[in-house]
Subunit: 412 residues, 2 copies
């Protein structure tokens, strides 16, 4: 019977719309920065929904909230979840979808009177976005033991506030120990936040992992000179070097292919005048790959190119690593399970990496972890225009439901 179980699209959509009204921005979109009054109002609303579904609600010391539904056994639960904090100009779906789809799955089980072997739980984690407090994925990282609780409680936000004080102020500094709850498996439904599924007309993404990130700041010092009187052969043009690096980054990504991407998002030249050869450039290079060895190869190629450019153009180039995260690889069996369940439901499915970070990656080293992506219209996210079609939300939630049932009732 559980094979034919389906979520209620209309119920799920209406819950997404209800939560979206909390912290709604004029003209569309949502602002519920972590631990603000708007975040508190969202939390209160989700907890009320958890309780109405009969879940046992617990809050831990970093403010993560878990609603658990009992199983036949007392084993570790299969967890679903994501976050409900948003960026300053956020949409309805990023994070919220994973939480509310999890609760819709629970509602389905309730309606059908199904009791799973293991308990199942839905969680939302504190400050996934990192828009007010660094780092992002704060709650899930503390939850899974990757960040120290005390250090994290003392983080100061962009507005000078303390995580600890803000947790206390909104009454979400819970008593449960962090990392006390182990999950049998973790599942997160999320919008892709990229264009691939929509572009290829595919309904479900079986997420293989999260790209590793390498951020480099490159500072180039050349010689400022007159654009008219300085022959090409006598130039030490920091602006040209910056341009050459940006073109190299593009070519590197195309040459490596696969999941390698490279972006030069920022370039600042000095003096930045039409008729003066720039003597100074600061730029960023963002390299990402799902494969750590390939990411290291990309970094090495960039480094080698900078050395060559230093010699060719007789400039000085300094590079600094601004951020470095290794790729996260999700359990292959979970990826296969998501793929199989999507196919079993007659949905089109594609394996793909996540280009953004998610709470699921905190769980990946500790338990089998899976992520399900659904389309983002136009690939747009972190934007008030973020949108996912109701039929895609329904498809994703149905895959979540079936994968959850598999994990909650299976031996492994």
């Amino acid at each position: 019977m559980s094979k034919s179980l389906k979520i209620d699209r209309q119920r799920l959509i209406s819950k997404i719309e209800e939560l979206g009204k909390i912290g709604a921005l004029e003209g569309g979109g949502v602002c519920r920065l972590a631990l603000t009054d708007e975040d508190k109002a969202g939390r209160d609303w989700v907890i009320a929904r958890m309780k109405s579904l009969g879940l046992t609600v617990r809050i831990d010391q970093i403010g993560n909230v878990t609603g658990t539904r009992a199983g036949k056994s007392d084993e570790a639960p299969v967890m679903m979840g994501s976050h409900i904090d948003t960026v300053r100009t956020g949409g309805y779906y990023d994070g919220n979808l994973g939480v509310l789809a999890g609760l819709e799955v629970i509602a389905c089980l309730n309606d059908a009177g199904i009791v799973t072997q293991r308990p199942v739980a839905v969680a939302f984690f504190t400050n996934e976005e990192g828009s007010r407090f660094a780092p992002d994925m704060m709650g899930s990282m503390v939850h899974q033991g990757h960040l120290d609780l005390e250090t994290t409680l003392n983080v100061v936000g962009i507005d000078g506030s303390l995580v600890r004080e803000e947790l206390e102020r909104i009454a979400y500094r819970g008593e449960d120990p962090c990392g006390g709850m182990r999950a049998h498996a973790f599942l997160e439904l999320h919008v892709e936040q990229g264009p691939i599924l929509e572009k290829e007309g595919i309904e479900i993404g079986a997420v293989e992992g999260v790209q590793g990130i390498s951020w480099t700041e490159v500072r180039i010092s050349g010689v400022s000179n007159h654009a008219g009187t300085t022959p090409m052969s006598m130039r030490h043009d920091a602006g040209y070097c910056a341009a050459k690096i940006a073109v190299f980054a593009r070519e590197l990504a195309l040459r490596m292919g696969g999941n390698q991407v490279a972006t030069v998002g920022a370039i600042d030249l000095k003096p930045n005048l039409i008729n003066v050869i720039p003597n100074h450039a600061v730029m960023t290079v963002d390299l990402r790959n799902t494969d750590e060895a390939l990411l290291q190869e990309a970094e090495a190629e960039l480094h080698h190119f900078l050395q060559k450019l230093t010699a060719d153009e007789q400039v000085s180039i300094e590079s600094t690593t601004l951020a470095r995260f290794e790729p996260v690889v999700f359990d292959p069996e979970m990826v296969a399970l998501v793929e199989a369940e999507a196919k079993a439901q007659g949905l089109t499915v594609k394996r793909l990496p996540s280009g953004a970070g998610h709470d699921a990656q905190a769980f990946a080293p500790n338990c089998p972890t899976g992520m399900i992506f659904v389309q983002s219209a136009g690939g747009i996210s972190h934007n008030v225009k973020e949108y996912t079609k109701p039929e895609d939300i329904e498809a994703g939630a149905n895959v979540l439901l079936q994968v959850l049932l598999k994990k909650a009732d299976s031996e492994d």
Copy 2:
């Protein structure tokens, strides 16, 4: 006897230093923006020097000052000159050298009791730099009939002041009609303001002309997107396009060779963030050549490249011409004469173009015009560190003297 005539290095250097004290900046350098009190003080000082040399001083309606020494005949004079206004952080040599070397030549003729066939004159022209009032080369352009007097008198400066009022305020709105004085020939000694002579160890530059200038602003509109989630094949990256154009400009100049130069001095990206693909870029392309046909070829190649990039990257690109000046070609006989006189004095000499504009170019269409360049240490100008060695100044002034004598005593 005139063949062995030499200028007095020490006298010339001491005059350069004296004038450099007027408007001196703390820590070095000079600020005598056009028509300011400092400019007036400089003008007064030069006129006193002209009078002490027995010159007849005339001031025209745009404030150009000419000191004339009678010749045997009443024909049009051979003129020397340049400017004494400076940029905000100027040096001792730019402009001033051409005026003071002209006066040193006069002093030499006086000392030797030489009377030339034609009259000779030394002029300094109002607002060559254009740092306070646009356009630059204002006085010489009005003097030679390329700019309208009335229009120019009504130009408003960066500080809101009017050319006409400032001329009256400092008592330099003269009565002589502009363009009333025709020159038999015009000669300007100037610092190179570029690195070529120093780099090649050459003492004298025989200036063949002034580069034509083509300034283009390029505005690129692409699509902003997430640096992690957007595959390389789905990008419309305005920043990459800007970089590609900057690299193309360099390669174009190298491929064309000769006197072609190309500079991308300014690039501004939006949103200019490390992890966002830029959706907007504004940049400048500065193309210069001494040959109008080649400059047009460079412009056409740039235009074609922008079209190709628009198609390849599926972005939109708008380009606007910000400035366009045709190259100025100096009289080949004058170039040859400068070269021959330099060689006759045992100096090393090289023909080269000027990358910057000069008062001489206003005269080029109207009479045989020649320019003599001497080294700029490090190619540096428009800078308080501007420097030219005394021996180079001496060499340049001696070439000026001999070329002047040739033109003042010749039939043509």
